[in-house]
Amino acid sequence: MARILAVDDSPSMRQLVKLALASGGHEVDVATDGVEALEVAEKRQFDVVITDVNMPNMDGISLVRELRRRTNYRFVPLLMLTTESTSERKQQGKEAGATGWLVKPFDPARLLSIVAKVLT
């Protein structure tokens, strides 16, 4: 079981990601944007962070960049979960320090298997 932070500005998406991960036995906290995610991540250490890309206040790519600057998140898997699938955006995510890029809609079982993979 891992502690996972799910970041998405859509309430229903936060709920669905949480549901999928909780069904795999993970403990899930949520945040509505990059700014809130940074606050939550500073109060509590997470094993994985899954974030949307397009969000108000701070987008997912900036969030990944900010988290990688913190020593306690340097090696934590950071996954992007987004509708965006262009190679340019993926490259931006990779350069920011993302561990992987998942394109919505996600399949719950697939999401769980990817989380398991990045945790090993």
Partner: protein, 156 residues
């Protein structure tokens, strides 16, 4: 929006502006209205998922788990719809802020100008895909593939 002398009569311009603004407000209301039911549906799924006890096992449990997974996948299309509607709402809002190509003498060239302007205002690749699909077909056919990459994953 209707400042230039060669533009359509003020009353028509005003009607366009008001229509665009009204459409934008209606979209906002509709989007907000659909948010609570989507969350309710998610909560119901959460309860169903929590109700699945591993000890109960059997084919019924497997079927239910599969059904919940299908619902989780399907419900994400609501989020996608909301995103697309937000883009359309933003486009409508911008239409009232910036001059569009003239309505008078609207021909192939004006059409191309309009398309160029609209394409420039689309921020995401998926929005471009949707726009091009709408242009080609005049609508999105059921089962149309909007994104070839959807549902994919890649670890760096």
């Amino acid at each position: 929006m209707c400042a230039a002398a060669s533009e359509p009569p003020p009353s028509r311009c005003k009607t366009l502006e008001v229509s665009a603004e009204a459409a934008s407000i209606l979209l906002s209301f509709a989007m907000r209205e659909s948010e609570a039911p989507a969350v309710e549906l998610g909560t119901a799924l959460e309860r169903l998922s929590q109700g699945l006890r591993p000890a109960e096992g059997g084919a019924m449990r497997e079927t239910l788990a599969r059904d919940i997974a299908d619902c989780v996948r399907a419900l994400q299309f609501h989020d996608r719809l909301i995103q697309q509607l937000a883009v359309i709402r933003n486009l409508l809002t911008r239409l009232t802020d910036h001059p569009l190509p003239q309505m008078a003498g609207f021909g192939a060239m004006r059409w191309e100008e309009l398309l160029t302007e609209l394409r420039e205002r689309l921020a995401e690749h998926s929005h471009h895909e949707l726009f091009e699909l709408l242009l080609r077909t005049g609508g999105v056919a059921p089962g149309a593939q909007l994104g070839q990459g959807e549902g994919t994953s890649e670890l760096f």
